[in-house]
């Protein structure tokens, strides 16, 4: 399998994640879209690592996974608190900083 396929898959996944983030309205789904984008990036990173015969890309992926885990913990906690406050998690209603 040529590495190009992995890059194309990664690109497709990232675009889908972005699109989902932009069109979806509840925070959980948007959150999942972010996870998809992160993993698309991970995939591209590993493919590049293989292509260039270097471990650097894989090391970065470990960092990304760690950050994603931490982000999931904090992000979900925030969403939970928002739910407690507003009894919903619609992202367009979170607009306290509206100018």
């Amino acid at each position: 399998m040529s590495p190009l396929a992995f890059f194309i898959l990664s690109l497709v996944l990232f675009s889908l994640g972005t699109l989902a983030f932009l069109v979806k309205r509840d925070l959980i789904t948007q959150f999942m879209a972010i996870e998809i984008m992160l993993n698309a990036a991970n995939l591209a990173m590993i493919a590049a690592s293989r292509l260039m015969a270097s471990l650097d890309g894989q090391i970065v992926v470990f960092f990304v996974i760690t950050v994603a885990a931490a982000e999931a913990a904090v992000g979900l906690a925030i969403i939970l608190l928002i739910y407690r406050q507003k009894k919903n998690i619609r992202s367009e209603e979170i607009n306290l900083l509206k100018g």
Binding site: F21, L22, S91, E92, I94, N95, L97, K98, G99
Partner: protein
């Protein structure tokens, strides 16, 4: 001891410092001890310095002490040091300020005993003494200006001492503002002087004048600017209006500041710069004319007033007019001599008036007095001595000094000013005895309530009166006129070294005698008239008042000068300020400030449209941004 003469002003300064910082914890007894003591110490050191410079053998050189405490303003060639000087002119002023000042401090212990702000009062009185001593001991004009402003400040603080009384507060403000007008001119004069002579120290100014370094026209300008300052501080036409109002302050303050010392600062300044005034000539004439006019004019106002302190205030203005008249005709020594005797009898009169007020529970209106003679056995004779002295009855001190001024005036050929002075003298004698008769003689016009509280003042107040009365009588004998023999005028002789600009007076003995007899008769005539008007036939004043109602109203309302100033200066200023406020400040200045804020607000509002509060939008912008940057990097 005399080498420590520079300590003279520092005693009251230290006392003020202590009273201001620790005053609230100090017991009243201690305050009454410390404040007069500080002035007494200054007096003692002043005496020591006086004996040092007046010792025989120094007569023909300028006997003076000088001490530079520290360098003050050094800028290139121009130098001003913090220099204190002690020469004969200073000696007279220092001894008057501290001597009379000490007596008034003692009197204040009794007069202010019941006041809540006892400590503040003495702190201010000491501060005033310090400022005045700085003024008279300054070795240059700039340092003198510090003292000059200092006494103005103390005057403001002491006139407004009872600041919870609106009249006192506004009188204080008036004094301050009117003084400031004069001070602005003084400062201008100072700038001209420094700019042209590159120095401000008195010996160097005199040196420059002797060498003729500046043109007479410039000297005239500088001298006149200084004199405007003097009219403010010394309450002469046209800036005298603050002094009568200053009577809102405590009476001992009126005695110390507004009679004996501060208001004489202008006379001192003119005498100090006697070379400048004589060099200019025109300026000296202006001083003489203003002095004579004031002496006469203020006297006429005093004729119709009923407030006991206001009569004294106008008489102060009038007497200072005499001093300026003396200085203006070149008789600086005579002017200073009158300053010196005036300090005694005017503070005596004020303190005695304070004693009368004290006895009558604060009554000031002479229409509600009368017949106090038998109730006030010490105040009455001392007041009478003061009145006799100021009226110019022969052989009292006021007679010698006023006569010296009038004689010089005549000798210089200024017959019109001499006549004005004589008219002023008869008026003075008249209104002083009008005051005596209205207050102490005749029927009792006060209420039974007041009579119940009527009492002579305590010894701490009456003893100063007696001391001052004594000096009012004898103080004149150190400056006897020439008719009693040559060389008897020790005062003139003592001041001779500093008064180089003085004019010579040559009159035959017969003329001198004639002048003395004329002024004696004038004084007695004034007293006689007062007796006729207020004792013999009391209906006469009413008759005159109803016969010349316009004149009477004019005098009673003080020539409407306050009203004229109000209309001519105060109102236009207020109106002008309002016009500027509404037409410039509000639209232009406020407009610019608010406009810039509004512009920022406007742009901020436009920019804030981007902040929709929707995460989606932010994400979209973010992605677009990334896309643009990527595009730039790749292509």
């Amino acid at each position: 001891m005399s080498e420590y003469f520079w300590l003279i002003p520092l005693f009251p300064a230290a006392s003020t410092f202590i009273l201001v910082i620790f005053g609230r914890w100090l017991p009243k007894k201690y305050v009454s001890f410390q404040a007069p003591l500080a002035v007494l110490l200054s007096f003692i050191f002043g005496l020591a310095a006086f004996f040092k410079i007046s010792r025989p053998g120094l007569e023909h050189e300028v006997a003076s002490l000088s001490q530079t405490l520290f360098p003050w303003i050094h800028s290139g060639n121009f130098q001003i040091d913090f220099t204190l000087r002690f020469d004969p002119l200073t000696a007279v002023m220092v001894l008057v300020v501290t001597g009379v000042g000490f007596i008034i401090h003692v009197y204040s212990i009794g007069y202010m005993a019941e006041d809540r702000s006892y400590t503040r009062y003495f702190a201010l009185l000491n501060l005033f003494t310090f400022a005045m001593l700085l003024l008279v001991m300054a070795g240059n004009m700039v340092l003198m200006f510090v003292g000059w402003e200092g006494v103005g400040l103390c005057s403001y603080l002491l006139i407004g001492f009872w600041f919870e009384k609106p009249a006192a507060a506004s009188a204080g403000k008036k004094a301050f503002i009117v003084n400031r007008i004069g001070d602005a001119a003084f400062l201008l004069g100072l700038f001209f002087l420094i700019f042209n002579l590159k120095t401000a120290s008195f010996p160097e100014i005199n040196q420059a004048l002797l060498e003729g370094k500046i043109s007479p026209a410039l000297a005239t300008l500088i001298a006149l600017l200084f004199f405007v300052g003097a009219t403010g501080k010394s309450a002469q036409i046209p800036l005298y209006v603050w002094l009568p109002d200053a009577m809102e302050g405590p009476t001992p303050v009126s005695a110390l500041i507004h009679a004996a010392t501060m208001v004489t600062a202008g006379v001192y300044m003119v005498s100090r710069l006697n070379l400048l005034y004589s060099y200019s000539g025109v300026a000296a004439d202006v001083v003489a004319v203003i002095g004579a006019l004031t002496a006469f004019y203020a006297g006429t106002i005093a004729l119709t007033q009923f407030d006991i302190k206001r009569v004294l205030a106008y008489s102060t203005i009038s007497q200072i007019g005499y001093m300026f008249l003396g200085c203006g005709v070149g008789a600086y020594a005579a002017g200073m001599f009158h300053l010196y005797t005036h300090a005694f009898f005017k503070s005596l009169l004020f303190l005695a008036a304070g004693s009368v007020m004290h006895a009558l529970s604060g009554e000031l209106d002479m229409r509600r007095m009368g017949g106090l003679k038998k109730y006030l056995p010490i105040t009455y004779p001392t007041f009478l001595i003061g009145a006799i002295t100021i009226a110019g009855v022969p052989f009292f001190s006021g007679f010698f000094s006023k006569d010296a001024i009038l004689t010089h005036c005549y000798a210089q050929g200024k017959y019109f000013l001499w006549l004005l002075g004589l008219c002023g003298a008869i008026i003075t004698a008249f209104y002083m005895f009008r005051l005596i008769f209205l207050t102490f003689h005749g029927e009792e016009r006060f209420s039974a309530e007041v009579r119940h509280h009527l009492h002579e003042s305590p010894a701490v107040m009456t003893i100063p009166l007696i001391v001052l009365a004594f000096f009012s009588i004898v103080a004149g004998y150190i400056g006897l006129p020439v008719v009693f023999g040559h060389g008897l005028n020790l005062f003139d002789h003592f001041l001779e070294p500093v008064l180089k600009g003085a004019a010579e007076a040559h009159l035959s003995l017969r003329t001198e005698w004639l002048l003395i007899i004329i002024s004696s008769l004038i004084a007695l005539a004034g007293i006689g008239l007062a007796y006729l008007f207020y004792q013999k036939s009391p209906h006469l004043p009413h008759l005159l008042a109803s016969k010349f109602p316009d004149l009477y109203r004019l005098l009673y309302n003080k020539y409407y000068v306050d009203e004229i100033y109000e209309a001519a200066f105060v109102n236009p200023l207020v109106k002008g300020s309002e016009a500027v406020y509404y037409n410039f400040d509000l639209p232009v200045i406020n407009g610019a400030v608010n406009g810039s804020a509004r512009t920022m607000n406007f742009f901020g509002r436009i920019l804030s449209l981007i902040q929709t509060g929707l995460i989606r939008d932010y994400a979209l912008i973010f992605i677009l941004g990334v896309a643009i940057i990527l595009g730039l990097v790749v292509f």
